[in-house]
């Protein structure tokens, strides 16, 4: 909410990488070589760049989903559940409908996914708007319900009866075109970027977006000016859920071709943390998502060529998040104390 100081975020990135370099050194490897291979592993070669794109799409969309919910002042920790619901809904629409043209089938799958996960997102929205139920708690719980539910679906009614628990393979007409073979990058990235731009435009250039933003920023003011706070909050959550569901749909339609039980190792949590570090600023969400995607993809190349384990990169990412959370240590607290003494008795 306060003007973000991107300088300190940059400092945090540099500090984390420096700590990482130190750790690499202690392990007996050459940090320069390691980071070089990290860089190569992310940017050199179609497979690697494609790998970055593959990871970037769900990260960015789930981060965007969280950022949208943050705009209406709701902490939607349930994006992971919405990811799963969207994925299985898209997978079902992908195999259940046959004989459709891709230009019909693909949007249909997206729509089914977004409706399912949007409706799921409405639930905590309603509970918070009407009864002030703690949404952090409810959304965490609902994640499990969603994941178990999809697990049931993939094990029984929607099962492909294959060796691994998954749904039947979707029709060709529902698949997203691959780009940059042999990687798994697909045109889903254009969809994701398009959604990002659309959401940004909608929030800052339309009436509906104006309402959503103000309800989150200042509910008293919004109520007084005539924006119905409950409705806006619920719609914000529906949108957030829908975006999370879209991420799941793209995973199914672009990467796997079916819904796989437990396919997400916590993608939405990474996305959520990326958004939190970006202070829920929609313009920075893709930047931080890209940063994380680059690190994760590059880590594979780094491990292959230098032997530095990729768990080290995971550790550095976690350290970065912790440091970034504390980045306010100097700047923020100074501003805070200046404000509080200035607002003593008005």
């Amino acid at each position: 909410m306060y003007k973000t100081s991107w300088g300190s975020t940059l400092m945090t990135i540099i500090l984390s990488l420096a700590l990482g370099a130190g750790a690499i050194l202690l392990l007996g490897y050459d940090p320069i070589e390691a980071y070089y291979q990290l860089f190569r592993g992310a940017f050199v070669g179609k497979f690697n760049i494609g790998g970055v794109m593959e990871r970037f799409v769900p990260l960015m969309l789930t981060a965007l989903a969280f950022a949208v919910s943050a705009k209406v002042a709701v902490f939607n920790v349930g994006v992971e559940g919405e990811l799963y619901l969207g994925a299985i809904a898209a997978a079902w629409a992908g195999y259940a409908f046959t004989g459709l043209h891709p230009l019909v089938h693909i949007p249909l799958c997206f729509a089914v996914a977004m409706v399912a996960s949007g409706a799921w997102g409405a639930i905590p929205g309603v509970l918070k708007a009407y009864w002030k139920v703690n949404e952090v708690c409810v959304t965490i719980l609902m994640n499990y319900v969603a994941i178990y539910f999809t697990s049931y679906l993939v094990g029984n009614p929607f099962s492909a009866r294959a060796s691994i628990p998954r749904t039947p393979t979707i029709e060709e007409s529902a698949r997203l075109l691959r780009i940059l073979r042999p990687s798994r990058a697909n045109i889903g990235i254009f969809v994701a970027l398009g959604v990002l731009v659309l959401v940004w435009w909608m929030l800052y250039h339309t009436n509906w977006g104006y309402k959503l933003r103000h309800v989150g920023q200042n509910p008293s003011f919004s109520e007084y000016v005539g924006i119905p706070p409950k409705k806006a909050m619920i719609w914000g959550m529906i949108l957030s859920g829908a975006i999370g569901g879209l991420a799941g749909a793209i995973e199914v339609m672009g990467i796997h071709g079916h819904f796989l039980d437990n396919f997400s190792p916590g993608i939405a949590f990474d996305g959520m943390l990326a958004s939190l570090i970006a202070k829920n600023d929609i313009r920075m969400v893709p930047v931080l998502s890209l940063f994380l995607a680059v690190l994760k993809t590059g880590a594979l190349g780094m491990e292959r060529f230098t032997g530095v384990p990729k768990t080290l990169i995971d550790t550095i990412i976690a350290v970065f998040i912790l440091l970034a959370a504390m980045e306010g240590l100097f700047a923020y607290s100074r501003r805070r104390s200046a404000r509080s003494s200035g607002e003593e008795a008005a």
Binding site: M1, H205, T206, N207, W208, Y210, H214, Q217, N218, S220, F221, S222, E223, Y224, V225, G226, I227, P228, G342, E343, E344, A345, A346
Partner: protein, 505 residues
């Protein structure tokens, strides 16, 4: 001659932009009940909070039982035997009465709480001073009167000899207030000394030995309770101040534009709940609603604007019944509202000036078309208003939090008055605003009236009410205690109505 327990001299306390206390003077004799009275912003609460160590004064000295201090901490104050019962109770609602009383001063047996010792001590105070409480009930289950008794026992339990009560009857019914007075009298007999902060003259006259009047942060007078009267106190409290405006501007009066009929409105405090409030306002007139803050005025404004429920009764605006409609629809029926709370309600501090100015009109053409906001047009609109209302600094993209109080209020006024609504509801419109902006804002209210709007002006500033209103209604404890024409009104009459004089007790 009783000894002087407390002597506060030359106290000065300033907050950003506001001199809360100037040259504050107060003394307390042992065994007396000394009332401290004044209007809102007179400085009485602040002065006592300084005594209790919650604020540090810039200048002045506090002498307690002979020892002089430049300032105190709450711990020191408690140690010196000073206890304060605040307007906002410092009670943990989910814990029991007993737990609240002993918190921080628990009698122990090892690590355990010694319940029996606690109960004994509580019963002692309850019996000695008539403070009936239920030790094992949770605070959220007891009445407000009992909660106050809990706060009093808390201070006694911590060893207070001197009790400061800040507007204690603001939350009590008349019966509970009587009970409180009995308690205070028996405490006085028990050797305690009491400071009673209030704005209600009848009560103050009933129990005080001495009465100190404060106004505008200054000490005005200290008189003996037995030798003064309500009219005299009202005059001292309200006083004569520099007149900015003068008298209300004449204008042609039209039909009734707003009619409030016997409304019942909920409130957090017992005495700010509205129970049967009625009045009406015509086009081309300003109805001033006077009263000390906390008597239901905020609730009244919110009820009319749709921000608070109206449980019973009607609000008729432009011929339609608008009570309990969503705020947007009430605005569409012809209401503009300058809210009391500029920072939380009137403005969105995180948005810029143009978004704030356009907030009510942004969803319609010409500022947006087909749901898309035309930011260019919004800027034009905002710049126009910035010019007409002389808002400084003159920039549409400046963040609202960067504006001074006066200019921020001008943004609110600009937005609301420029809508040219049939009814303009202005709640404390010049609070915290500099002299220059005050004049601008008051002129705007008059211009709206001349253009035929019906204006409701809610203000605790009596001078403002007198200089702008054609008719004046006074609110006290959730009801309208009187309505007078401005030609017949003077400070004394209004002061009495505002402080409960002439009605009961």
């Amino acid at each position: 001659m009783s000894r002087i327990l407390i002597e506060m001299k030359g106290i000065c306390k300033e907050f950003p932009g506001v001199k809360a206390v100037q040259d504050g003077l107060f003394s307390l004799e042992e065994g007396e009940i000394h009332s401290l009275i004044g209007e809102n912003g007179a400085g009485k609460s602040t002065l006592m909070k300084i005594l209790y160590g919650m604020y540090v004064p810039e200048e002045g000295s506090i002498a307690v039982k002979g020892e002089t201090y430049p300032s105190l901490t709450p711990k020191q104050a408690i140690g010196l035997g000073i206890g304060m019962v605040h307007q906002e109770f410092m009670l943990v609602r989910e814990m029991t009465v007993l737990e609240n009383i002993i918190l921080g001063f628990e009698p122990r047996r090892g690590g355990r709480i010694d319940r029996r010792a606690a109960l004994e001590k509580i019963e002692y105070y309850a019996d000695t001073y008539g403070l009936r409480v239920h030790p094992d009930k949770k605070v959220e289950e007891i009445s407000v009167g009992e909660a106050q008794r809990v706060e009093i026992i808390k201070t006694l339990y911590r060893g207070a000899e001197i009790l400061v009560l800040d507007e204690p009857t603001a939350v009590l019914t008349p019966q509970e207030a009587e009970q409180l007075f009995c308690i205070l009298r028996s405490m006085k007999e028990g050797g305690k000394s009491i400071v009673f902060i209030s704005h209600k003259l009848q009560e103050v006259l009933a129990i005080s030995d001495r009465i100190t009047v404060m106004r505008g942060g200054k000490h005005i007078a200290t008189v003996a309770g037995s030798s003064t009267s309500a009219p005299e106190l009202a005059r001292l409290m309200v006083g004569r101040e520099v007149f900015l405006g003068g008298s209300p501007v004449p204008a042609a009066k039209g039909d009734v534009a707003l009619s409030v009929e016997n409304i019942f409105v909920p409130g957090e405090k017992e005495l700010s709940k509205l129970r049967g409030v009625s009045f009406s306002v015509r086009k081309g007139e300003i109805l001033g609603i006077a009263g000390v803050n906390g008597n239901g005025q905020s609730e009244l404004a919110e009820a009319i604007a749709g921000l608070r429920q109206v449980q019973r009764g009607r609000v008729v605006l432009g011929g339609a019944e608008v009570q309990n409609m969503p705020p947007r629809r009430i605005r569409e029926h012809g209401l503009s509202h300058i809210p009391e709370d500029r920072n939380q309600r009137g403005l969105d501090r995180f948005s810029d000036v143009k978004e704030n100015l356009a907030a009510c009109s942004v969803s319609e053409p010409p500022l947006s078309s087909l749901g898309v906001i035309r930011w260019g047009k919004v800027r034009e609109f905002a710049e126009g208003l910035i010019r007409s209302y002389d808002i400084r600094p003159a920039g549409a993209d400046i963040e609202a939090s960067g504006l001074s109080g006066g200019n921020a209020q001008k943004v609110v006024v600009a937005r609301e008055v420029s809508r040219k609504a049939e009814v303009l509801l202005a709640s404390q419109p010049t609070r915290g605003v500099d002299i220059g902006s005050i004049e601008t804002i008051r002129n705007e209210l008059n211009r709206a009236k001349e253009a035929g709007a019906a204006v409701v002006l809610i203000s605790s500033d009596l001078e403002e009410i007198l200089s702008l209103s054609d008719r004046i209604a006074v609110m006290f404890e959730g009801r309208i205690t009187g309505e007078v024409d401005s030609s017949e009104a003077d400070e004394e009459k209004l002061g009495l109505l505002m402080t409960g004089g002439g009605t009961h007790v």
